[in-house]
């Protein structure tokens, strides 16, 4: 039988969000889709990424910023929502019982929180911004692949348009 590779969506004691295997994340998302289909509710998937490339020569600072970002995201969502970090340093958030309109609202709130937060930084002013791609089940997609693809595309679109924005399906 499959075992859980990590504790998903749980912030560890040191404030970091544990990286979640993509397959396991998709497994959780598939479960969510099935539950939402069974019990008829909306939920939304947010993919969050820091704007700009991390500084390669200062990995410690990058890690600290990522850890802090995970903590801030965790602080902005409900205890029942899912949060995880993927290996490509982007975060995903699954907001239960949340339609697109409310997901955008949450996304904007998170974006503003990060925009006004000052990260500890040895090199710059510590101000960072994020871009967010949002898709909603079943409004934008009703399967795992569609949801992930949709959110990632929207994230890329937000970044292409200059970042620091929440992108939703048109």
């Amino acid at each position: 039988m499959p075992q859980n590779p990590s504790e998903p969506g749980k912030a560890a004691d040191n404030g970091s969000v544990r990286p979640l295997d993509r397959k396991f994340f998709e497994y959780l998302l598939e479960l969510e889709v099935r539950k939402a289909t069974r019990y008829l509710y909306y939920f939304s998937l947010l993919v969050v990424q820091l704007d700009g490339q991390p500084t390669p020569e200062d990995p410690a600072e990058v890690e600290a910023v990522q850890r802090k970002l995970g903590y801030l995201l965790w602080d902005e969502i409900r205890g029942t929502d899912l949060l995880g970090q993927r290996h490509d340093s982007s975060f995903f958030i699954v907001l239960h019982y949340t339609d697109l309109e409310n997901a955008v609202r949450v996304g904007q709130r998170i974006r503003e929180r990060i925009e006004h937060y000052t990260f500890e930084s040895g090199s710059g002013d510590g101000r960072r911004t994020i871009s967010i791609g949002v898709s909603c089940f079943p409004t934008n997609a009703n399967d795992v692949a569609g949801l992930i693809q949709g959110s990632e595309e929207l994230l890329r679109r937000a970044q292409d348009r200059g970042g620091n924005r929440v992108s939703v399906p048109e």
């Binding site: 039988m1 075992q3 099935r34 509710y41 339609d99 079943p138 409004t139 399967d143 795992v144």
Partner: protein, 519 residues
């Protein structure tokens, strides 16, 4: 003991069928994997999981036969799941050490079994996967063992729904193990229409496999990767059906605390199966017609939105009669009835019975870890002669009971005797005594047209009584209000429209002389 098989095609001889069910029928080219597990849950899980890699998975009919089967089948890989420590296990492991020289072996072992494995000489050559394990670990080990380097991409849907994806080729025992021409015709129609977008109406008695047919159509269609949503219309209270199907906006009625999607929205780009559509309320039929005609629907209290859903519907009711009685919208009927598939009752395709029996025996023997039961010729004769009013579902339940309880012949005899006794009085009134001295009577009347009016179903009697009572109440209210229909509707606490419909239904259309015009 004489064994009996009846009208089974050559391709489905007993040995072939057993082998087919045991070994899987689909030819594969990626090597045979021999799977041994005494734990039925684990066995089913592993078989489903491994089958996605296009490997042919073989399992021994009985765990104790594993060594004999293994020699005969010469697989490319053996996966041995250690369940309990016992002398048989140790013996098997020692045999596997010898086998390792020619065939790779993967052992799945729990914490308790690891010391036992380490004690065995030569066990260090094995690939041992400790339980619980990740599917990915097993996949990697299989690939390594078989020397396959190509990555196998498995979607979560395949991991989670192995049985569904297995049926991608339309495999459904009850539908595919047909030997009758009529079921072959059904199969041909399903194959023909599956990959189109037309609405299909599936008809047939209860238990004939309407939902299986719908699922088969869905899985053979180009929407197979999209959702398949089933709605059992009579199971949802009349008042809730609309919100279940179409969803609602927040605040659209008391208790609508949050926006909720409907089944149609969730099934977008997929398929929705409306089971027992004959029971859908008249008021809702127009909304359904709107979706069918324009591909649009509106959440309760919300705006219209487009939806792309293929509709499959099923019913065991006489829809033409319902249309004639004004209980079912004629336009909806024609919209649904683009292609109609009729699933014949089991009594009209008796040649399928032995095949189905075999199939169900295999299924439940494996599920309950029981030994195979053989039926005597006389028992099989009884099963073939019985009319199966509950169709395939009834047969399946009987076989399930036989597998669990054992003693098949006595159980089948008792079951059939009891059921025949129940239907005998009806038979006596409806049919002349059969001249053919069969051990069982041929069955019970099925259509109401064949039965005299005194033997109407309880449902019909109740419906008529209800209509009569309603008619009396409506007439009383109309007389009281001097045929002012609006006032009468208020007294009866129904809508004006509903009253008009009921008046027509109860044939109260005739205006009395003293009627007053409606305001």
């Amino acid at each position: 003991m004489e064994k009996f098989f009846h009208n089974i095609p050559d391709s489905l001889t007993k040995e072939n069928r057993l082998a087919n069910v045991r070994l899987g029928e689909i030819p594969m080219d990626r090597g045979k994997i021999y799977l041994v597990s005494s734990d039925p849950i684990m066995r089913n899980y592993l078989r489903s999981y491994i089958s996605h890699f296009d490997h042919k998975v073989l399992t021994p009919a009985k765990p104790e036969n594993f060594w004999d089967d293994l020699k005969a089948l010469s697989p490319s890989l053996v996966i041995y799941d250690l369940w309990k420590n016992n002398s048989g296990t140790v013996q098997n492991l020692q045999n596997l050490i010898q086998l390792e020289k020619t065939i790779p072996v993967i052992l799945l072992a729990g914490e308790m079994q690891l010391p036992m494995i380490q004690e065995l000489e030569g066990s260090d050559q094995w690939k041992v996967i400790k339980k619980p394990f990740l599917p990915q670990d097993l996949k990697t080990s299989i690939l390594e063992a078989l020397g396959k380097e190509r990555e196998i991409v498995l979607t979560p849907a395949q991991v989670l729904r192995p049985s569904f994806t297995n049926t991608k080729k339309g495999y459904h025992p009850q539908l595919l193990l047909e030997s009758s021409q009529r079921m072959q015709d059904v199969r041909a129609v399903i194959d023909h229409v599956a990959n189109t977008d037309v609405t299909i109406l599936i008809r047939g008695e209860s238990g004939t496999g309407k939902e299986l047919a719908a699922r088969s159509i869905f899985e053979s269609s180009n929407r197979a990767s999209k959702p398949f949503i089933t709605v059992l219309c009579p199971a949802i209270p009349e008042g809730l059906l609309e919100s279940e199907l179409f969803g609602y906006e927040k605040g659209s009625f008391t208790g609508a605390f949050r926006r909720r999607p409907g089944k149609f929205e969730i099934a977008n780009h997929g398929t929705i199966f409306l089971d027992e559509i004959g029971d859908i309320p008249f008021e809702l039929q127009s909304k359904l017609l709107h979706v069918l005609q324009r591909g649009e629907f509106a959440l309760i209290g919300g705006n219209e939105q487009k939806v792309d859903v293929r509709i499959l519907a099923a019913t065991n009711k006489d829809l033409e009669k319902a249309v004639a009685e004004g209980m079912f919208r004629e336009d909806l009927y024609y919209r649904l009835n683009v292609v109609s598939i009729f699933l014949p009752p089991l009594r009209e395709r008796r040649e399928d019975i032995p095949v189905l029996i075999e199939c169900f025996f295999q299924k439940y023997n494996e599920q309950y870890n029981k030994e195979y039961h053989e039926l005597t010729a006389s028992t099989m004769r009884l099963l073939l002669d019985y009319d199966w009013p509950g169709n395939v579902r009834e047969l399946e339940n009987l076989i399930k009971r036989v597998v669990i309880m054992g003693n098949p012949d006595t159980l089948v005899h008792n079951y059939l005797n009891e059921n025949v006794k129940k239907i005998k009085p009806r038979l006596a009134q409806n049919r002349p005594a059969p001249t053919d001295p069969l051990p069982l009577p041929a069955g019970r009347p099925r259509d109401s047209a064949a039965a005299p009016s005194a033997l109407r179903s309880l449902k019909e009697v109740a419906r008529e009584a209800m209509r009569k009572a309603e008619g009396e109440a409506i007439l009383k209210a109309l007389e009281q209000t001097h045929w002012n229909r609006k006032a009468a509707a208020r007294i009866l606490e129904i809508s004006y429209k509903a009253l008009l419909y009921k008046i027509r239904q109860c044939n109260l259309d005739g205006e009395p002389d003293s009627s007053t015009p409606d305001p």
